[in-house]
């Protein structure tokens, strides 16, 4: 993980510092408090927080995919958290000083969900008790009940949380928040109901190295017979040529 320490102490939101701040965010998914003191800058060192941030990111997306498609053989059993993290970390790259830099959006996105969850908790409107035992390495979002997780997402996409508390690139950027929230839902669904899980051990390999290794479990669930050479389903023609 690549992290740049900005020793200027600047907390500017100007676009000029966007890329640097976004890079910081990569290793700083819990940076809801952006009034960075020298100490908090130190805490952004990747070696110090890298491991923790990865496990917390994973816990957050495990909690996210579980509420999207629950139950046995749901999205969590089918490792859709891997799918979401891989996709987010390949979602965007921008021009850096020496070529294109990939922005690892997964930790920032997990941080965004946690920030929304935290605000729901502080508002006292959670409907069920928090439970940290399911995802001990998780943050606020993962501690919520299914119903409350959906409530946190609802508040987030309707800008009913403090947008200034979100990590970059989401901070004060409702357009980008909505775009990612919408895409997160689509990712889980296309990942779950496509051939992705059947790629087995190759599913996180570079796309060209992926091969189907196991049966199409979710296609069986919805009686989709898998890709086909054709169907003898011709029922005729209303017309074979239009009149004019």
């Amino acid at each position: 993980m690549n992290n740049t320490i900005d020793d200027s102490g600047s907390t500017s939101h100007k676009k000029g510092t966007f890329i640097t701040e976004m890079k910081n965010t990569v290793a700083n998914f819990v940076s809801e408090n952006h009034s960075a003191s020298p100490l908090s800058r130190m805490e952004q060192l990747p070696m110090q927080i890298g491991k923790k941030s990865l496990s917390q990111t994973r816990a957050t997306f495990m909690a996210f995919v579980d509420v999207m498609i629950p139950s046995t053989f749901g999205a969590l059993d089918l490792r859709l958290d891997d799918y979401v993290i891989w996709t987010l970390d390949h979602y965007i790259s921008v021009q850096g000083n020496f070529g294109m830099d990939s922005i690892q959006l997964s930790s920032a996105t997990a941080g965004m969900l946690d920030a929304a969850a935290k605000q729901l908790i502080f508002s006292g409107k959670v409907k069920k008790e928090l439970n940290y035992s399911i995802y001990p390495e998780g943050g606020s979002f993962a501690s919520l009940s299914f119903e409350d997780r959906l409530e946190a997402i609802h508040l987030l996409e309707n800008a009913q949380v403090d947008m200034d508390s979100l990590p970059l690139p989401y901070r004060n950027n409702i357009g980008y928040v909505k775009n990612i929230v919408s895409n997160l839902h689509q990712m889980v669904m296309i990942g779950y109901y496509s051939e992705w899980f059947s790629l087995g051990a190759t599913r996180l390999a570079p796309p060209e190295n992926r091969v189907v290794e196991r049966p199409f479990m979710t296609w069986n669930l919805v009686n989709y017979p898998s890709p086909s050479m054709g169907y003898r389903e011709l029922r005729g023609f209303l017309v074979k040529e239009f009149k004019d």
């Binding site: 676009k15 390949h90 909505k178 775009n179 890709p227 017309v239």
Partner: protein
């Protein structure tokens, strides 16, 4: 001055390939620069892994066996917008897609590569509504007709066959009081088969003595339902059943002996003459090789931009061509929506004589209802990953349980569905029918493409795409959603969901470089001579709602003819 070709065309998609074939047939030497890969060509046997050759200009390079390997029909492998073969990005799939900033719920659904977005299009090829052209565009509908006819004969375009989902749709439409209209030129509302650029099914399709595998290597559609995942079925590349331009126009262009196509080549800048004595004119392009990063210049007598409705204005802006307040503006996107019904098996049996609709069979969309003045709707069926994501995950309303439901709504729920409800809907996938809505939205100057002042990719400032529908557009879309729900209900749907797709869905993108405002009536830029445009961006509006590709192809045919008349 030395030139590398008579004409350089930027983009080998729905429009560029057509212009190339027409120019090549008229004896003009053409070089197409395409940003993405070339599937089904021997010179790129591993197009997503290796750089391969620089260009190809021979029809002998086309290879149906490679196309069959590469168009796998697997929806994640083909259609995933981040890593799929059909994505807006470089050929090397280890890299991220090329970013566009969509500041809202939404998605931009385009594909790079020879064939461009027609690789995953559904091949629906209706003409524009005459009422959206006459006295609105700088040219008349009548002017377009001979070019429509030429494209329809070349692709070819024919009425789609009926499979289960079309039969359910026709049944519901008829019961709801709509008439059958047997025409290519609808002037009043009614239903009809899609005019599709898909070969009719092989006459042996229903003959069980011929295996489906054999049929997949013969001429004609096999009703496999993979139009959106990429169609590899046919005896040779030029005879594949679905007719994207890499299948239809590119082989014909190569046959002229005058056309060379260079994939993996991203055009970054239009080069213009700087001689102040003469009018500003295009003289070539600056490009970047997407594998090596090598930057170079190529020169021609005429340059044609066919990079699509986002990249063409971006290219104009990043080239610092003369200011025109309409560049990138006036975007229409048909303000889509999606309504889905689920049916009881016994009701399906009563209509179809079988238990299920199986929306994954047959052409992705084989029927439509046209309503000039309002737009159109079309029954549609896609594979389960795409179906779930488009039906239950892609909404501007948020979660369905947060929506207020009015007893007057003809649908039972609106918005995103997750959890056990999603599982339940998906268990009934086989018994669903979806209808896609295309609205006759109007161009507004606020909508369109700008470039970000700070964020750049390797090709320069990144496009930002915005769209806000007007009150009138919303009214039309609501009316079409009601018609769709009524048709589903009349066909017996037990439960209906209106997904309420985000307004920022960019798939039918038109009118960002409008004829009469940025280009003249032969599609040459007013402010830069010898610079033409041959993509959806020159449409003056959203052509009334019908799918735009055929109109772009008719115009590209006409533009090629006008280029030769004027400059060769």
């Amino acid at each position: 001055m030395h030139t590398d070709a008579d004409v350089i065309i930027i983009g080998a998609g729905g429009g560029g390939a057509v212009a190339a074939k027409e120019l090549g047939e008229l004896g003009v030497n053409v070089l197409i620069l395409e940003a993405g890969p070339w599937y089904g060509n021997k010179k790129w046997s591993s197009p997503n892994q290796e750089r391969g050759a620089t260009s190809s200009s021979s029809p002998d390079d086309l290879d149906i066996n490679l196309l069959r390997q590469q168009y796998t029909k697997m929806e994640h492998n083909m259609n995933d917008i981040i890593s799929g073969r059909f994505r807006w990005g470089p050929a090397d799939r280890r890299r991220s897609p090329w970013q566009r900033i969509i500041p809202n719920h939404g998605q931009l659904w385009q594909s790079t590569g020879v064939g461009g977005t027609t690789q995953h299009y559904w091949a629906n090829s209706p003409r524009a509504y005459a009422m959206a052209i006459d006295d609105v565009w700088p040219i008349s509908y009548r002017e377009l007709v001979p070019y429509y006819e030429k494209v329809e004969a070349t692709l070819p375009v024919r009425p789609a066959p009926t499979t289960a989902k079309e039969e359910m749709f026709y049944y519901g439409a008829k019961k709801d009081g709509w008439s059958f209209i047997n025409t290519k030129n609808p002037t009043s509302p009614g239903y009809r088969p899609q005019p599709n650029a898909i070969l009719h099914p092989n006459e042996k399709l229903m003959d069980k003595n011929v295996s489906l595998e054999e049929l997949s290597k013969m001429e004609g559609c096999t009703l496999c339902g993979h139009c959106v995942n990429g169609c590899p079925h046919g005896p040779s590349v030029d005879k594949v059943a679905k007719r994207p331009t890499n299948i239809s126009y590119v082989p014909l262009a190569l046959k002229t002996g005058n056309v060379e196509i260079r994939p993996n080549t991203y055009t970054m800048k239009i080069l213009t003459s700087t001689d102040s004595e003469v009018e500003r004119q295009a003289i070539g392009v600056e490009y970047r090789d997407t594998w090596t990063g090598e930057i170079g210049e190529l020169y021609a007598k005429v340059v044609v931009m066919a990079a699509g409705c986002i990249e063409t204005p971006r290219l104009w802006l990043n080239s610092q061509l003369p200011y025109n307040s309409w560049v990138g503006r006036g975007l229409t996107n048909h303000y889509w929506d999606w309504v889905t019904g689920v049916f009881d098996e016994k009701d399906i049996m009563g209509i179809l004589g079988q238990n299920n609709i199986n929306p994954f069979t047959g052409p992705t969309s084989g029927g439509r209802l046209d309503y000039p003045g309002l737009g159109c709707i079309q029954p549609s069926g896609v594979s389960p990953g795409l179906f779930s994501s488009l039906t239950f995950g892609f909404s501007q309303s948020g979660y369905f349980f947060k929506q207020e439901h009015s007893v007057d709504d003809p649908w039972d729920l609106r918005g995103r569905v997750v959890g056990n409800e999603l599982l339940e809907w998906m268990q009934n996938y086989q018994s669903t029918l979806s209808i896609m809505i295309l609205t006759d939205d109007q161009p507004h100057k606020r909508n369109g493409v700008t470039v970000d002042p700070v964020l750049k990719d390797e090709h320069g400032p990144i496009p930002v795409v915005r769209y806000t529908p007007s009150k009138e557009d919303k009214k039309k879309r609501n009316q079409l959603a009601k018609i769709s729900a009524d048709i589903l209900r009349k066909a017996g749907a037990k439960k209906i969901i209106r997904t309420d797709w985000p307004a920022h869905l960019f798939a039918h993108i038109e009118s960002t470089m409008r004829m009469g405002l940025v280009v003249d009536d032969i599609c040459e830029a007013y402010q830069v001579k010898r610079l033409f445009i041959a993509d959806n961006s020159v449409h003056y509006n959203g052509i009334g709602g019908p799918n735009p590709t055929l109109t772009t192809q008719a115009l590209a045919t006409r533009t090629a003819e006008k280029i030769v008349m004027k400059y060769f």
